[in-house]
Amino acid sequence: MRTDDAAWHSQSLSSLARGLAGGEFSARDLTESLLDRIAVHGESLNAFITVTADEALQAADSADRARSNGVAGALNGLPLVHKDLFCTAGVLTTCGSKILGNFISPYDATVVERLRKAGAIMLGKTNMDEFAMGSSNETSFFGPVRNPWDLARSPGGSSGGSAAAVAARLVPAATGTDTGGSIRQPAALTGTVGLKPTYGRVSRYGMVAFASSLDQAGVITRSAEDAARLLGVMAGFDERDSTCVDHPVPDYLAALSKPLDGLRVGIVRQHFDAGLDPRCAARVRESLDVIRDQGASLVDVDLPNLDLSVPTYYVVAPAECSSNLSRFDGVRFGYRAKDPQDLFDLYCRSRGEGFGAEVKRRIMTGTYVLSAGYYDAYYLKAQKVRQLISQDFHNAFAKVDVIAGPTAPAPAFGIGEKADDPILMYLNDIYTIGANLAGLPGISIPCGFADGLPVGLQLVGPPFAEDRILNIAHQYQSLTEWHTACPERFK
């Protein structure tokens, strides 16, 4: 490593953008430096499935040329990584699965395309739970990701590789996807910022589909400001995603500085029930005091159906997954079983051998709840309860501007600790799933530590209130330093 770049890895996107714009260093220098860092630390974390060093250096040179030609984009020369669920033209896109282990995407996801066109440099593709189905990164075909704060622990999931890479300062920002908490929960467990936008705010085109009525793309960064910077580029209408909403994209950066005077913050009684680790409860309450001291008022609200959100999710999401994953048949792309006896055998063995255990469980759960005789009892019932859960949020937002509480019930757990109990694993997402079921934006920000492990505060807003939750997060971060903490071995 060169002597003058020692601090680049710890800088925010905003700070790096100033350095690049001021000509203090080139995109090439920055890219080389971070690729070196990934080469040194990447393996201990298993955060990457693919490192795209050659492509990154080429893109960095293009960014440097664009800058000298006076046509630098909004993110010109800024490095980031993509969760390996986003299609990237000409680059392996595995979704953490053996069945896509050799899949080279023929096109870019809209998110990838927009960030690239703004000048961002992709350094690689991050590890994840297989098809984003998991809360620990242990379901990845490529092995578990390790938490930079304690290598024996999980970084959460499913965007665990993205979260670990950002937490360990291998890269300042990463994309992620969130179907039931897959951005916010790993952000909480790794001490990073994780933003899940409103359903339809960001295009899903080119994201490998898991549960199409819940999936949403977002970012993992080290500050709310950096998340705002990226969301401004990613958000907005895309005709290639039929559920992408044509809604104006506000200036997220401009909204950050608004004072919190008069803000009404909803505290959910049910969030502080017995299921919450008391250390996390204490950190969350302390952070709420900081927000109140900035002029906000704390208001009690109820989400009476909170307990039903996890079972509702585990009907709706598997149902949609069983349908979406029927495309993996061993015929047009992906893994094909050897020496099939006939077409049926080809389907069944390609899928049986290509999918991991958790993905098979979810496909089968979904197949069961959609099968003849069970549809009304499970799927239709779950869609009705989903309506009740959504209504609970709607009622709460009649009284408050934002809901604040814990992101995850406990700090990072040990790798293997919950791997054999699917229900215990599913309950990790008790506080995050509601926002997906109701389509709402949510963010997790670091709010302290429990015995050396990060704790996350979650803010959930009404539809399209990304500017508001980013504003609150930024104001909190202007008074606290939890988001600047770095695990010792990655300083």
Binding site: N102, F103, I104, P106, T198, Y199, G200, S213, E239, S242, T243, V245, N305, L308, P311, Y314, V315, S322, S326, D329, G330, V331, R332, F333, G334, R336, P340, Q341, D342, L343, D345, L346, Y347, C348, R351, G352, E353, F355, A357, K360, R361, I363, M364, T365, T367, Y368, S371, Y378, K381, A382, Q383, K384, V385, Q387, L388, S390, P422, I423, Y426, G439
Partner: protein, 95 residues
């Protein structure tokens, strides 16, 4: 066990999943636990509640029926396990 082995076998058939001998019992066990877990939904009072079809209560957007993109068949088939003359190859389905 809320699901029988026969039921799980049938679900695997519907889902076109071949389960190995070593994993079958584990699937029966864990799938049963998942079904028991989601069964708690049955007690929720949902009379007169409409099922939710879209998180934002929006209807599906339509686009003009026009050609908007072309497909590069060779590029797409580069990912296929077996192709010939632009066709995907599968085991014989007709004798």
């Amino acid at each position: 066990m809320s699901l029988t082995k026969d039921q799980v076998q049938h679900i695997a058939f519907l889902a076109r999943l071949k389960l190995g001998d070593g994993e079958f019992d584990d699937v029966v066990d864990k799938l049963s636990r998942i079904v028991d877990f989601v069964d708690q939904l049955q007690v929720a009072p949902t009379e007169n509640v409409l099922p939710m079809a879209h998180p934002l209560a929006l209807s599906q957007r339509l686009r003009p029926d026009a050609v908007t993109e072309s497909i590069d068949r060779d590029a797409l088939q580069a990912n296929a396990p077996a192709v010939r003359d632009g066709y995907y190859l599968v085991p014989k389905v007709l004798e």
